[in-house]
Amino acid sequence: MIERTPIFNLICYTILALGLVIALLPFGIVIIAATLDLKAVNTVPMPLVPSSHFWANVQEAWTRADLGNKLVHSMIFAVAVAFGKVLLSSMAAFTIVYFRFPGRYLIFWLIFITLMLPLEVRIVPTYSIAANALQPFQAILDVTGLTSLFAWLFGIKIKLEWGLLNSYPGLVLPLVATATGTFLYRQFYLTVPDELAEAAKIDGSGPVRFFVDVLLPLSRANMIALFTIMFVWAWNQYLWPLLITTDPKFGIAVTELKTLIPSEFGLPDWNVAMAGTLIIMSPPLILVILMQRWFVRGLISTDK
């Protein structure tokens, strides 16, 4: 604040308070509705005082959406995506920044072009690969004639197959295969002083040693930021898990929301639906509240 502007300040406070209400209202409605019983949740206007049915609603939603298993699946899935992203992008960015060899620019561009097309945009072709992730290699072998050569030489027909439907690799790998994290790491490595690498080289350390003992410890802040943002992003994925988990036993929490929608001709039990929504949306929300600083940092630096 620079000068005294009491009236303008009052307007500011009002607008900000209004913004706060808009931001918090949906949370409030979900929480209140989750505590009501069937009759109260369907009264118009909806009562704005919490009632005592929260636990019963949570139990009902828990069994209906099979949340015990699904939350565990979601947790493994989101942690694996976040971990894979951190690991692979820190490594890839290391090559891009710290090595000189022919074809380096090609690699750089091959990775960065993936930024352009998010998974949802190329969902149909990516899904076709899920039936057999080794299909590209099989096709290459077939086209180059290596398959028939092998069959002729050893009498073995090469058949590469790795189905990804209903498996963790199928859920995780396509989501790891983008450049967001690599970009963040590249920006960070570029700010690391050259003297560090120089000193490491004089002391006789090779690239692997330098990466493990110098760069990784230095990039701890980036690691936490990227991990947080990727965990939230992965937990909230919907379209890809919906397609890849055809077995109802192997679903994740977010896709289970569909089973919670009250059916048109059944009971309008919105109280149960809201209890389920509350449970499913909580883990990333709690993480963001705890890791606010890192989350914001990851958000701002990955996307730019």
Partner: protein
């Protein structure tokens, strides 16, 4: 920018990048190439491989009014939700940047919506905006039949836009605020010394200085409106009523996985990819220009 000190062992360097390259080859380049192949071929109904049909899939698509409807709705959805989310976020960020009492609270609360999964907030808003229960049902008690997203296409579109904008206000807010806080205090102070009020400073100093962020967010928001809208639409309206909320990604999903028309869906994917690529190139050009400013 280049490093002065580098390592020379090519093999080690390649080993570090190979896992990433393998992944993007299998899950990005191969599928994208396959989409191209599908888009120009047609699967035979009784098996026997794909037949080359040239641009037939595209011309069929582009002469289909239903597809143009989906494009139009996606544009409508993208532009209006972007306008709402960015407009409100900019106002809130400008006011929070004045660092009045409690600005830290706003800063942390406004980001919360972005942490919510799109389908989860879809379900929440489906209840909040439901015609017979929830918050907006009160309208129907006063004027019966005025608000019904389950039957009225326009209401359904409004509901989807509201839900999507709510999530992205927080996201835009974070970027605007960090851009505003990057503006040197001395500039604002000097302007205040020269006698300009808060409104004048907003118009003449802050807004011009955050235009790069504004354009960056514009592209991001529109791209996100193509992809992140799927969960919201699928949970809230499933494209209905009567296709009123069928957006491009939803149509791809519906045609490809429910209608099993892979060639048509692949052609749609290609068109969507082109759209997103054009937007991204626009964005890259812009970022480049911003770097020159520094």
């Amino acid at each position: 920018m280049e490093k002065r000190v580098t390592f020379s062992s090519t093999i080690t360097g390649l080993l570090f990048v190979v896992p990433m390259l393998l992944l993007i080859f299998v899950f990005f380049y191969w599928p994208s190439a396959q989409a191209l192949y599908w888009a120009f071929t047609l699967e035979q109904p009784w098996g026997g491989g794909n037949r080359w049909v040239g641009f037939d899939n595209f011309s069929q698509l582009l002469s289909d009014p239903v597809y143009w409807g989906a494009i139009g709705r996606s544009m409508m959805f993208g532009l209006s939700s972007t306008a709402i989310a960015m407009g409100l976020a900019l106002i809130l960020a400008l006011l929070t940047d004045r660092e009045l009492r409690g600005h830290k609270i706003y800063r942390s609360v406004f980001i919360w919506p972005y942490a919510i999964a799109a389908p989860a907030l879809g379900l929440a808003f489906r209840f909040i905006l439901a015609p017979e229960a929830g918050l907006l049902s009160i309208i129907n008690q006063v004027w019966p039949g005025l608000w019904n997203p389950a039957l009225d296409g326009k209401d359904a579109m409004i509901a989807v836009i509201v839900a999507f904008s709510w999530k992205y206000i927080g996201y835009n807010f974070i970027f605007f605020l960090s851009a505003l806080q990057g503006i040197p205090r001395s500039l604002t102070e000097a302007a205040a010394m020269d006698g300009s009020g808060p409104m004048r400073r907003i118009l003449d100093i802050q807004l011009p200085l955050v235009t790069p962020t504004l354009f960056f967010l514009l592209v991001i928001n529109i791209t996100e409106s193509f992809q992140d809208s799927f969960g919201i639409v699928d949970i809230m309206t499933q494209g209905g009523p009567a296709r009123a909320t069928e957006l491009m990604v939803y149509k791809i999903y519906f045609d490809g996985f429910k209608g099993l028309d892979y060639s048509g869906a692949a052609a749609q994917s290609i068109i969507l990819m082109l759209l997103v690529i054009i937007l991204t190139i626009f964005q890259f050009r812009f970022i480049e220009r911003r770097v020159h400013y520094k």
